[in-house]
Symmetry: C2
Subunit: 440 residues, 2 copies
């Protein structure tokens, strides 16, 4: 294995990159060059059938495994630079690759290769009275931009999903992972090219210049959709500045409402899991609504306190247990992503629906109840991407939904909603087959 | 029937509007008030079932008919103001209402009321190994903003489509139609309210202040989608300034490629219809590509010249007929919307695909050929919203596609593509039914 102490320029040269970042005079010219190359490559990719794309992705996974020495050496450079810049332990852990993690990344590329390809699926067909045959057929979106932060696995995950659905991709990762990202990209592209995919189908931004990100966000007509992957501030900046359509995940302020008719045992285990299984994921419960008529409220809050969760309640919730702190107005709109939970006592379904309508971020909201009519009203009236009955909100995940992988969980209302995988990376076209029809 | 010469303030007062335009201190505050009211109304609308929404829309259509005197009087004010401001004859014609046109508008509302309601449709279902039952169910998008120009019928058409799919709508029409729009809105709202729809579900911007349009375009989180309806400059401004997702139609640079194996008679009638049936619609052919091996090219250009179409050709096309003018580079990227056509002679399918990839606006492109393999390659490889074989591009229309109506033809690639009707005004949510599942 090569030593991690290789000088940066040497490594970059070895990885096939020129140290010159970009010859363009402006960020706009750079994005135009990259996007144009990506769009040309995408035309070839769009003509490849499903087995050909799968084959190329399996080659890419294999190339990643074979590039382990290069990738780990590059990652060591990033880790050393990160430590020197004073990144926290958690940030360094997100950045860190080892043999096992890299194998996991390659396995994930293989798994995406084996997912059913949505391209070519016929959404619907119709024959018109004049004999025209209409069908709507799934096609790739085109060129997808991905803007992400420190996890180098996104380079491979996002590229694989885009390519599986016939899209070209322009990746812009965080500067703290730049060597890792370049090494991973290099391996991926090597494998993809062996499988017949043009090299420009998967590109990594050659500069960390922030102005180039701005140019990406404004590149209407060149980039078809942008997916930001990262913390709230990154996503908010992308949403604020983008002219290109954005598929984004903002907050996950998820509620669980324990209805009066909930099975008490079920309510306890579902609530505990929804909050405490992993507190840092977007599907974690952030607010617990307990019906005033639910008889075992003290057991639920007792479980959560016992598991080390801080509870912040309204006055009626505070009456359930002296350890519950008072909630402020802000708490009801806060995504803690931590072992903290806001708790309110509500009077019946309508009060719960009203609280959720005012405070939910539209990600995932759940009810626990044994009353089927109440469950159906909740499913119908809560206007969130995911609504659940008698299940932990932590199931809000593309893998758990059987999508095989996800590019993200969308909290917007346009194009795709909730966990987004391959179908969300496609659009459709109308095919019309006639035999000489003219319009009267 | 009331005279058209009623003073403006009297008419506005009769129509239920206060002459004060808006009490807010800023355009943002105005949009926040209107959008918040619309969103609250939409929650009620979302709970109405399909027959209830249909009933309310039929009441609205009836109320429109009953308001004929008010609407025509209001329209006469707009016509008088338009004439005084020197609007062209074509613009005045777009603005003008009469008894027949108003009946047509009311009939269109009735027709939308009878369209199948997509809300509640189950897109797909799955059961996970852990017993979770997943389904994706169509739901309204929420609050739609419509920004349009002088045709007052858009007020009723767009409102009806939005309401049918359970959406609230904020309408911003052109100042030249303001009295007509207000009178139409008033009648619609009267009928909808009789049918149980909250009045705020359909609102018309109470001011013509352009800053309020800017505030609409930036109202992320308040307005869920904006649909501009109008000329290219309106749409381009909306696309440039919007932060809210936009469903827009830009250019319709539509091609028809006459392949070597095209039936000569079919090619003649299809090409003539694609260009000359109506030259001002977005689905009109703007460029004709004739294969060098097609034997009857002179007949096609002769038909078009004979029908009064100006032809601008490359040098090989010019050789077909001395009346063909030389085309400039710009011609290949021009949407004439007039009796003008650019014509190129190409060498085979690949050259045609290449020309289309470079110059098409992605709206509608067609091929005429008797060779099935060539047709299927064209359908597969041309990356436009609508691709046609052996049919006139003038069929690019929601009504012709059996959608019953359309809010527009989308030339973007996200959310919906081509003719957009009710389905494009919905999104979906994931419903998950469990029996106490927790995530391991």
């Amino acid at each position: 294995m090569r030593t991690a102490m290789t000088a940066e320029n040497t490594l970059i040269a070895e990885a096939g990159y020129t140290p010159v970042e970009s010859p363009e005079s402006s960020p706009e010219a750079l994005i135009e060059r990259l996007a144009s190359a990506g769009r040309i490559a995408q035309r070839t990719l769009a003509r490849m059938d499903s087995p050909a794309k799968a084959h190329a992705l399996h080659r890419a996974a294999q190339a990643l495994r074979e590039a382990e020495p290069d990738v780990l050496a590059a990652n060591a450079l990033d880790m050393a630079a990160g430590a020197a810049r004073g990144l926290t332990g958690a940030m360094l852990d997100r950045l860190r690759l080892d043999s096992g993690r890299l194998a996991g990344i390659a396995d994930a590329v293989d798994a995406v290769a084996d997912l059913p390809d949505p391209v070519g699926d016929v959404i619907d067909r119709a024959e018109r009275p004049n004999g025209l045959q209409l069908s709507r057929v799934r096609v790739p979106i085109g060129l997808i931009g991905i803007i992400y932060e420190s996890r180098p696995n996104v380079t491979a995950d996002a590229a694989a999903l885009c390519v599986r659905a016939g899209n070209a991709v322009l990746l812009r990762g965080g500067s703290e992972a730049i060597h890792s990202n370049r090494a991973i990209l290099n391996a991926l592209v090597k494998g993809l090219v062996e499988g017949g995919v043009p090299a420009d189908a998967v590109q990594l931004m050659p500069t960390q210049d922030r102005a180039a990100v701005g140019a990406m966000l404004r590149a209407t007509g060149l980039i078809d959709m942008i997916v930001p992957r990262g913390g709230k501030s990154l996503v908010a900046r992308v949403q604020a500045d983008a002219r290109v359509p954005v598929l984004a995940h903002l907050d996950g302020i998820c509620h669980t409402y324990v209805h009066a008719a909930a099975d008490p045992e079920m309510a306890r285990i579902v609530a505990l899991n929804a909050k405490m299984r992993r507190t840092g994921i977007c599907g974690a419960m952030e607010t617990l609504l307990i019906d005033a008529a639910f008889p075992a409220a003290q057991d639920i809050v007792g479980d959560l306190l016992g598991a080390g969760c801080e509870l912040r309640g309204d006055s009626r919730a505070q009456a359930l247990n002296p350890a519950i702190l008072p909630a402020t107005d802000e708490d009801w709109d806060t995504e803690y992503l931590d072992a903290v939970l806001s708790v309110a006592v509500v009077d019946g379904l309508d009060a719960a629906l009203d609280h959720i309508a005012r405070h939910s971020s539209g990600h995932t909201d759940a009810i626990v109840t044994a009353d089927n009519a109440v469950a159906e009203r909740f499913l119908g009236e809560v206007d969130s991407a995911i609504v659940m009955v008698n299940a932990s909100s932590q199931f809000a995940d593309g893998g758990e939904f059987g999508l095989g992988a996800e590019i993200g969980i969308a909290t917007g209302r346009i194009h795709a909603r909730g966990p987004v995988a391959l179908e969300g990376l496609t659009t459709y076209k109308w095919q019309v087959r006639g035999n000489g029809q003219t319009r009267p």
